[in-house]
């Protein structure tokens, strides 16, 4: 398993259950964007008999990942085990920083820097003769993984996901809650979405700390 930097690393760290024997890495101390796909390629060359999965945000795909899909297109036919899935979390947002700005600085989302073009990564994969799967509903998630891991070629599993889920720290301090609240009050363009979404995630921590 590899993960890119950004909100994808949140879900990688918190939601993946690491089992005995799994290998994983991430850009730890530098935390550079754009490492998820190249790490996965190196992992596949190093361990050709293992399934490799990269968890990458749409920002990192646009930065580095899309280019390195071309490298996968160049080499995959030499791989005897072709289980290789790039899971793109497409939320059209540079989400980690958007949330950091909200939670830490109390700033509303700055759309000029944070919004990303909606790129159809699954179509791009098909252009490269890889397999693309577009997943835009919860009930498709499981069957799409079955399809991806059974594929006869590398897969771009494009999950069309919600940018309004806060990938926030496990505890929330009052300071952060105040900052967050002020970004809401200042009129964040996405405030309706994230209030509706997961505000519950925030407040157990707030009440506990205070």
């Amino acid at each position: 398993m590899t993960s890119d930097s950004g909100s994808s690393a949140n879900w990688f760290a918190r939601n993946l259950v690491f089992r005995e024997g799994m290998l994983s890495s991430i850009s730890g101390n530098l935390a550079t964007m754009g490492c998820g796909v190249p790490y996965a390629i190196a992992a596949k060359f190093a361990h050709p008999g293992r399934a490799v999965i990269a968890l990458v945000g749409d920002g990192a795909m646009q930065m580095n990942g899309m280019a390195e899909l071309v490298t996968i297109a160049k080499y995959w036919k030499k791989w005897h085990d072709r289980r290789f899935v790039v899971c793109v979390l497409n939320n059209r947002d540079l989400n980690q920083v958007t949330w950091e700005m909200r939670a830490m600085a109390g700033s509303a989302k700055f759309e000029a820097s944070q919004d990303l073009p909606d790129v159809r990564f699954s179509h791009f994969a098909e252009m490269l003769d890889l397999h693309g799967i577009f997943v835009n509903a919860p009930e498709k998630v499981g069957p799409a993984w079955d399809e991806a891991l059974r594929s006869d070629r590398p897969v771009v599993y494009e999950a069309y996901v919600d940018p309004d889920v806060p990938p926030l720290p496990p505890h929330i301090t009052l300071e952060q809650a105040r900052a967050f609240t002020s970004s809401v009050l200042e009129g964040d363009p996405d405030r309706r979405g994230f209030i509706r979404q997961s505000i519950e995630q925030l407040f157990p921590g707030v009440t506990k700390k205070s």
Binding site: T2, V17, A46
Partner: protein
């Protein structure tokens, strides 16, 4: 034709165990690429889209195999593109050797096409070793030193080879005389163990702790059994830094998962409540997710003394291989006395978790039995 410096480079790298080089071609490394084309040493050239990704792949190769990763780029733009991936390797302490072309010696210093000051460019990221191979008789020891230093220091080194040197006749064995270096390939990874009194002191601290928190990073990846044994013996919980997520499986009941901004509530609670902190092979940067200074007695183990005592004011800092240090503190059968603890021990209850329900049993284990470490560590 006679063997060139480039042919010798590949042969020597092969002797160092290299089987794969991630790179991108360019005018400044044509000599080396030509050697790849006639290579009989079974080194595979993996063509990437951009040199930054070649460096990231070399970094990941090192991370996923434990071997040295190798990347290659042409002079000028190719070399500059490598930098970010090389810093990734440097900052995560994995060995990577970058091989970079340069303008021919006859053109160097003339602001030649694609000539940049590579020493200045790499002097930070490859500060342990960045060197030109400006003479064929120098090539052998420059290669040997770059690989050995990368391994020994777990860092990035860089070999710069001007394009005319790449095509010169190789000198495999420099003459045995003044102004030559007689280098070799051998490198063995040491197993470092702290002194017995220090291990005894560590055992005492752990035995005296009532709520032991253990934080592991990638440096603990060969010490899974030992870390689990320490947790078993102390009734402690194990939290994991991002690079250490695969050190201990999440299916172990007293593993609380990741720590930090991307972490879990149980890891946070463990750190808030512990009276003893053991850090193994981690440079996890965010001190605010560790106990408050003074709250817990701290022990840190790292193979690199420079990384000790910078995140938490630990009272005992041990330089050593994680598995050796930890195993020396394992409880010997029949030695340790069992102590009874109440169920309200160090481990937080499952209700505090913010994890998905499927993982809710992970930190629910507050075991009633606690053993100690033998303080006569032997």
């Amino acid at each position: 034709m006679a063997e060139t410096v480039s042919d010798f480079l590949l042969k020597r790298m092969c002797h160092w165990g290299v089987r794969r080089v991630f790179g991108y071609p360019g005018d400044g490394i044509n000599g080396i690429l030509a050697a790849f084309a006639r290579d009989t040493h079974e080194i595979e050239f993996i063509q990437v889209r951009h040199e930054e990704m070649a460096a990231m792949m070399a970094c990941a190769h090192a991370k996923f195999t434990g071997d040295v990763g190798v990347c290659m780029a042409t002079s000028g733009p190719g070399a500059i593109h490598l930098l970010n991936g090389l810093y990734d390797a440097r900052m995560d302490h994995v060995p990577v050797v970058a091989i970079v072309g340069q303008a021919a010696r006859s053109a160097m210093g003339s602001d030649y096409q694609q000539e940049v000051d590579l020493h200045s460019l790499f002097k930070d990221v490859a500060r342990e070793y960045v060197h030109d191979a400006t003479h064929p008789a120098q090539v052998r020891h420059v290669i040997d030193r770059a690989f050995r230093i990368a391994r020994a220091e777990r860092t990035v080194t860089c070999i710069v080879i001007p394009k005319d040197v790449q095509e010169a006749d190789a000198v495999e064995q420099p003459p045995h005389k003044h102004n030559t270096a007689q280098s070799s390939i051998a490198y063995s990874t040491p197993r470092v163990v702290p002194s017995t009194p220090d291990l005894q002191a560590a055992a005492r601290i752990l035995n005296e702790g009532k709520r032991v928190a253990i934080l592991v990073g990638s440096g603990a990846r060969r010490a899974q059994q030992e870390v689990v044994a320490v947790a078993e013996a102390t009734g402690g919980c194990i939290a994991k830094a991002l690079l250490g997520l695969n050190v201990v499986p999440d299916t172990v009941p007293f593993v609380t998962g990741p720590i930090g901004l991307l972490g879990t509530k149980p890891s946070w609670d463990v750190m808030q409540q512990c009276d003893t902190l053991l850090m193994v092979g981690t440079s996890f940067p965010y001190s605010e997710f560790l106990p408050k200074p003074g709250q817990a007695r701290g022990i840190q183990i790292d193979i690199d003394g420079r990384m000790l005592g910078i995140r938490y004011p630990t009272e005992l800092n041990l330089v050593g291989s994680s598995c050796r240090c930890s195993s020396r503190r394992k409880t010997a059968p029949g030695v340790a006395a069992s102590r009874t603890r109440s169920a309200s021990g160090a481990r937080p209850s499952a209700s505090a978790r913010t994890r998905p329900p499927s993982r809710s049993t992970r930190s629910s284990c507050s075991r009633s039995c606690r053993r100690g470490f033998p303080t006569d560590a032997s």
